[in-house]
Symmetry: C2
Subunit: 249 residues, 2 copies
């Protein structure tokens, strides 16, 4: 196994960072890495905002549900799906690009492009001995986040990426069984097999939590996910995204 695969398999989210800012050089490497990812038809439909202003970081940490590591880290990046750039391209070239950039297809393209770039950034950081944590919590209140970051229409902050030197070792959460995630030639819909795989995974996850909490926490994966989904969250998203003139047609 090579070093890169070791880094990839060794990933765990870090939620406590040393008070040591990233260097300019590190930031440049992380952004260049992000930009080196594949992009759909060369569209490059994302922007990255590095937040260094202390007040802004504090406010973002609050909005993300009081996550201290959004404020306290080596650097905080916000990855944004960006089709505003392409609206400008339309203006510069005199071409009508609006229907296209308001389509669900291009909304999907922008999300995928942004995530591919972000994962390159995350791995570049990890390969330099830094820890990372994705912050979906910024989607709790995107109207506010957009105000803080002064993003135009057709730009949607998707998630933050907190990066820095880890304060402590964290553990790796077990993933779904290989056979459950990987299908050959067709999707296995056999209900019995499907549920058995989830049940056996529940045991793995439950053991993981028990070990980690000395028996206090026994959550299964299905239980945890069902609770999370039953609660519902960010149900304003459809309207919000459309108010930003994306995912409209």
């Amino acid at each position: 196994m090579n070093e890169m695969i070791e880094t990839i398999l060794n990933h765990r989210s870090v939620r406590s960072f040393k008070d040591e800012p990233l260097t300019e050089e590190q930031i440049k490497i992380i952004i260049s890495s992000a930009q080196s990812a594949s992009t759909s038809s060369y569209i490059q439909a994302y922007s990255i905002i590095g937040v260094t202003d202390k007040k802004k970081k504090k406010k973002l940490a609050e909005l993300a549900g009081n996550q201290s590591y959004v404020e306290l880290n080596g650097h905080f990046f916000v990855f944004c799906a960006d089709l505003y750039r392409h609206e400008v391209v339309g203006k510069m070239t005199g071409k009508d690009v609006i229907s296209s950039i308001e389509s669900t297809e291009k909304f999907m393209v922008a999300l995928i492009d942004t995530a591919l770039a972000a994962q390159n950034a995350a791995l570049a950081a990890e390969s330099m001995g830094l820890g990372i944590c994705y912050i979906g919590g910024i989607r709790n209140n995107l109207e506010q986040v957009c105000k803080i970051l002064k993003t135009p229409d057709r730009v949607i902050p998707l998630f933050g990426l907190a990066v820095g030197y880890p304060n402590k070792e964290t553990t790796k959460k077990p993933r779904l069984p290989f056979e459950h995630v990987y299908h050959e030639n067709e999707y296995c819909q056999d209900a019995e097999i499907y549920m058995k795989q989830l049940e056996s995974y529940d045991q793995v996850v439950s053991s993981y939590y028990q070990e980690r909490t000395m028996g206090k926490r026994k959550d299964t994966w299905t239980g945890q996910i069902a609770n999370m989904l039953e609660r519902q969250s960010r149900m304003y998203m459809k309207d919000f995204v459309q108010s930003k003139k994306m995912n409209l047609r």
Copy 2:
């Protein structure tokens, strides 16, 4: 610069592969790498389908716009956003998760989760000396792709990933200027700066094409992107995604 960052920065898409299938071991490493990516609240909202059946590969290559490398490669993966799994979780636990999994928020989560996993897979492959190419072309006709792969509702094949030993060296396409993609503290909307950056990038891209084609091709980035967006494509996507019971509310 470490080896991982070198691999990341050295990425280029490969569109011609040697006739040498990946080993079981390589496939396992690629899938495990995909699964090691961060996942929003542990939701793991994706599945991966490896297509080895020759007829299916041929058909997918046609649907993707006659891209031969979809058929001829070391292995062809299809990455799918998957919330069907979570519908099953709802049934197993007796919780009502439907509103949640039909939301635009969870549609976004599934897309991001899938793309993060895919980029890990892509990099793991590249670190093993393999080449990769993302195939967005499968979105030309998802109804057909879903039939071939027998995916249930709430599963959307997002893109393919062709992997294999490269037949020839390809070149690296220049990316948008660093200052254009990376903002500090707020999104720079200054129209003059914004357009100047794109104009200077146009020159870089144009030189790249000229050099590569001995002067035959002189496309700028803005020109290329404007043409692509003006044409419109896959405008059926909104209805299609909603017919699969995602992005509904």
